[in-house]
């Protein structure tokens, strides 16, 4: 920790050499006048006020104050005076010698003395180290520039207030807070209230990731952004720049954020320097036993600087427990500290965030999730062996204390399992107050005008009316009175009403997207557009997903739906892609990959063939094969070699063939009029043009096209998703063919007379399919479902509609026609291709 210069010690050196005569009590010297050090002394005095003579050294120039309230001081909600815990009078009245602004610089355990910066040396019988933590400063260039501070003590708060004042004079200053954890966000909040323009830079993808899961982190981020803060997640600081003082922060991706103040709040490290120099045993913190005794029986330690049973803490609650055990030990009572479970609350007015215990789950853990989008609420309780082991609450933290209590006591929640997520009032008080635990009975007991669906204002009576009028399924209820049709949080209630009214006659609804939601694919697609949703966590929150981060069915579907709805805007989530699409190659049964470069319309040339031959030899590919899609497939490439293989193929002008994608695969062609004696049009040329237009697009499923030069149809166009058969007078277009598991010949769409028209109809057809089919539904089953007449009404009969569809497709293509191989070959996402490098342990290295 940096000590503040220019502050003179409050007591002078001479005074301290005088030991009050006749005081034969043991001398307890405390290093650190912070929350733990002072509390330990308070606990001691409460047990046996006269037993020890006490001296406290503090590095700060203040009496003991409540550090956690620095945030409200920064925010202007409290003054420093209001957060003082013990005044000077208290120290005096308790007979404590307080030495402020004089940090201890050395401990001599043999002589049992401590020496402070002023030179003052004091003898101790017992020493208590309570030095707290040092803020971690990330080692980037510019970290030492004036204007770069941490958020730990009153001095930091004063610096921030001064910067805000200076900013005001200059018409509003800018600040950057590095670190989106509890401290960073409280600093950002305070600075915003003080009129600064604040940007938070956070390395991880979610805010407060140690306390919150992705869903709650997303909610928090949205709320802070709506308060005017700029939140950059996944942002890595490269450098703090400025000449003589801070002028801004540069990120690794090159972005620059101007700022006159930079607050580093990336974490804390136990302050162990002094203890280490004194030869005490140190792990991550100063090692202590259950009575806070270090490896030297005369030396104790307490607070954030210690490590107990492998744990270090960064919150106050554990300190209180530690201080009790410590004082018990010093007064010969032996209770012993057994570690603490902690909970966190964010102290930002109007933002309720709570987290406790191990909400990250693990083996045998079950998640109970409640999302109420209308109220902006997310609650997640993690249960293991019928006991609550963790909780994350956002928006409604009223029950935080109750969950935390159940968690600490380890009480079984088996009896209230189904209701626990609704909170104490519902789960316990409702039960003891005579209300039944059965949710069905609870719904039955509601009055007719009780509101069931908050989003659409639908009462119980209205829902019952619909059911009696013939709505026999969830879907029918949704369609007739809109209950449960928006956010879905009342789905359970509506289902219970159906059960109550119809008993066994409830009709099962259409299949839901997956087990994480009560919505169908169509519902989800519609709501993404209607509610203008922009990310996977947002969809999961607004549509009440019942799992924290979905499953392998819904994640890829949501990723596609968002990509389709927001071309050029949505950032693809690679972790929601199946392996082949993430690796841009086809995984084989032995874990290697096959690589299929695009050959436009099945055409190739010596340069491409040579490059392929070279790759096969250079990377010792065991096989190369002509595919059923008119191109070459190179087998047996290792994931670490993929980028190099692609670089070589790129050099010969080849791009990915997307043989792995839910996307355009191939455009198969025949030779056509250029060579074939029967050819009527240039089928090869049109095939190449079609492939150039459509490659790279993401679709609900794979998509294949073929162009045949005459009705002999050598390119098998009538079993493709989109097929063109050339005739003398033009081009016959047909759709919905499939040559796979269930063979289906295409449906005739229409005939057009020019290539331009053929291309426009093709683009329009693909776009309706992209916008309306369900994920993993190929064109054949989609057309069976919606009917070819519907497709014709959109693509053939509606001229303006067709043009608009084609335009939307081409717009989307303007963002997706980038060769994914070229990107990877140039170093994008190397982590996906390389093994982690273990650091070789010392003794191993020596043995080699």
């Amino acid at each position: 920790m940096e000590f503040q210069d220019g502050i003179e010690p409050t007591t002078d050196y001479e005074d301290m050499l005088i030991v009050p005569s006749g005081d034969v009590r043991e001398h307890l010297v405390v290093v650190g006048n912070g929350m733990a050090g002072c509390r330990a002394v308070e606990e001691l005095l409460a047990r046996d006020a006269g037993r020890y003579r006490v001296t406290i050294f503090g590095a700060e120039p203040h009496v003991n104050y409540n550090r956690i309230m620095l945030s409200p001081v920064l925010a202007g909600e409290k003054t420093f005076e209001q957060i003082v815990i013990n005044t000077r009078e208290w120290y005096d009245d308790s007979g404590i010698e307080l030495i402020t602004a004089d940090p201890v610089t050395a401990i001599d355990r043999a002589a049992r003395t401590v020496t402070a910066r002023s030179g003052r040396t004091v003898h101790y019988d017992r020493l208590l180290i309570a030095t707290g933590s040092d803020p971690f400063i990330i080692p980037v260039p510019g970290k030492d520039l004036p204007g770069v501070i941490s958020f730990r003590d009153m001095h930091d708060v004063d610096t921030m207030l001064a910067a805000a004042e200076a900013g005001k004079a200059a018409g509003g200053g800018s600040a950057v807070v590095i670190g989106g954890g509890l401290l960073g966000l409280e600093a950002a909040h305070g600075l915003t209230l003080r009129g600064m323009k604040v940007t938070v830079i956070h390395l991880m993808p979610t805010l407060m990731e140690r306390q919150l899961d992705e869903a709650a982190g997303w909610l928090l981020k949205s709320a802070l952004e709506s308060r005017g803060q700029t939140i950059l997640t996944g942002a890595d600081t490269a450098e703090i720049y400025g000449g003589g003082k801070v002028e801004g922060v540069r990120l690794k991706d090159g972005r620059e954020i101007p700022a006159s103040l930079v607050v580093m709040a990336v974490g804390i490290r136990p302050s162990v320097g002094l203890a280490r120099a004194a030869g005490l045993e140190i792990g991550r913190g100063i090692k202590v036993d259950d009575h806070m005794v270090t490896s030297d029986p005369a030396v104790l330690a307490v607070g954030e600087c210690v490590e107990h049973d492998g744990n270090v803490y960064g919150l106050v609650a554990p300190l209180w427990d530690m201080c009790r055990s410590l004082a018990d030990g010093l007064t010969d009572r032996h209770t012993g500290y057994r570690g603490s479970v902690t909970s966190t609350k964010l102290k930002v007015a109007g933002l309720d965030v709570f987290s406790a215990g191990d909400f990250s789950g693990g083996e045998g853990c079950e998640d109970i999730v409640l999302r109420d989008a209308a109220r902006g609420v997310y609650k997640r309780v993690v249960v293991k062996d019928d006991r609550i082991v963790g909780a994350v609450l956002y928006g409604d933290t009223a029950d935080g204390g109750w969950y935390f209590d159940l968690l600490k006591k380890g009480e079984s929640v088996a009896d209230i399992r189904d209701l626990v997520i609704f909170g104490q009032a519902y789960a316990v008080l409702g039960a003891s107050g005579g209300g039944a635990l059965d949710p069905k009975a609870a719904v039955a007991a509601l009055s007719d005008d009780a509101e069931i669906c908050g989003c659409n204002g639908v009462s119980k009576g209205l829902v019952l009316g619909c059911i009696k009028a013939g709505a026999c399924s969830l879907d029918a209820v949704r369609a007739s009175c809109k209950a449960s049709a928006s956010c879905g949080s009342c789905t359970g209630l509506v289902e219970n009403l159906l059960m109550l009214t119809l008993g066994g006659d409830v009709e099962a609804g259409p299949k839901t997207l997956c087990k994480c939601t009560s919505f169908t694919h169509d519902d989800v697609r519609r709501e993404i557009v209607a509610q203008d949703m922009k990310s996977i966590p947002e969809v999961m929150q607004k549509l009440h997903w019942s799992t924290p981060d979905g499953c392998s069915s819904c994640r890829p579907a949501l990723n596609y739906y968002l990509l389709c709805a927001l071309p050029g805007e949505y950032v693809d989530d690679q972790q929601s892609r199946f392996v082949n699409e993430r690796m841009h190659a086809n995984i084989q049964k032995d874990g290697t990959y096959s690589v299929v470069p695009r050959m436009w319309g099945g055409l190739t040339n010596p340069r491409e063939l040579r490059a392929i031959a070279d790759v096969v030899e250079k990377y010792e590919a065991p096989m190369v094969k002509v595919t059923g899609g008119q191109r070459l497939d190179i087998f047996g490439i290792k994931k670490e070699d993929l980028p190099a293989v692609w670089a070589d193929l790129n050099a010969a002008g080849m791009v990915s063939g997307h043989a792995y994608g839910k996307s355009l695969r191939t455009v198969k062609t025949c030779v056509g009029s250029e060579w074939c004696r029967f050819g009527t049009q240039d089928s090869t040329g049109l095939g190449v043009k079609t492939e150039r237009m459509t490659w790279g697009s993401w679709m609900p499923h794979k998509f294949k096209i073929a162009v045949s030069g005459c009705p002999r149809n050598c390119a098998e166009a009538t079993i493709k998703d989109f097929g063109v058969v050339c005739v003398d007078s033009g081009y016959e277009l047909s759709v919905g063919g499939n040559g796979g598991i269930k063979v289906r010949a295409t449906d005739f769409l229409c005939k057009v007379s020019t290539e331009e028209e053929a291309l426009e109809y093709c683009a329009a057809f693909i776009q309706v399919y992209r916008e309306e089919a369900r994920y993993l539904e190929r064109t054949a089953p989609w057309i069976e479902r919606v009917g070819v007449e519907y497709v014709k009404s959109r693509v053939v009969e509606d001229d303006a509609g067709r043009k608009a569809l084609a335009a939307r497709f081409l717009h989307a293509q303007s963002f997706s026609q980038e060769d994914p191989w070229a990107k990877r070959a140039s170093g994008d996402r190397v982590d996906l291709h390389r093994h982690l490098e273990p650091l070789v342990p010392q003794e191993l290295a020596a043995a080699e």
Binding site: L203, M204, P205, E209, R210, D213, E214, R284, F359, S360, G361, G362, E363, C365, D367, T547, P548, D549, G550, C551, S552, R555, P556, Q574, Q575, S576, R577, F578, V579, N580, R582, M583, I587, K589, G591, K639, D831, L832, R834, H835, L836, E837, P838, L839, P841, E843, L844, A847
Partner: protein, 111 residues
């Protein structure tokens, strides 16, 4: 006593993803990072037909095998649902921001 190998930081592994560690003479090990930043390590082989689990979709505390979509619990290595089989797990822990992997027995003897 377990020996631990330092394999890097949390940031080296994509969230809801995995990376592999290759140790001479050992099967590849897949080190997973979940959506809530927990870290698990399994032998990189599906109990079904040895699919490389590191390449699967990570959801909750499970991974869906990239070959035939079995779901494997990351904490226990057990196949979930109707499928049965188990992949060996390897102890892993986080310390001071580093990820430490328990050193396989065979390698210990060699050292």
């Amino acid at each position: 006593m377990t020996d631990w190998i330092d394999i890097g930081t949390l940031a080296d592994i994509p969230q809801r993803g995995a990376r592999t560690v290759r140790i001479e003479g050992e099967p590849d090990i897949a080190v997973f990072r979940t959506g809530d930043d927990r870290v698990f390590a399994l032998v990189n082989e599906c109990p079904h037909k040895k699919g490389p689990l590191s390449q699967g979709i990570v959801h909750g505390h499970s991974v869906a095998c990239p070959l035939h979509n079995w779901n494997i619990a990351l904490a226990s290595g057990e196949a979930q649902g109707a499928d049965s089989g188990c992949t060996p797990t390897i102890a892993v822990r986080k310390e001071d921001g580093r990820i430490l992997l328990a050193r396989p027995e065979a390698m210990k003897d060699a050292a």
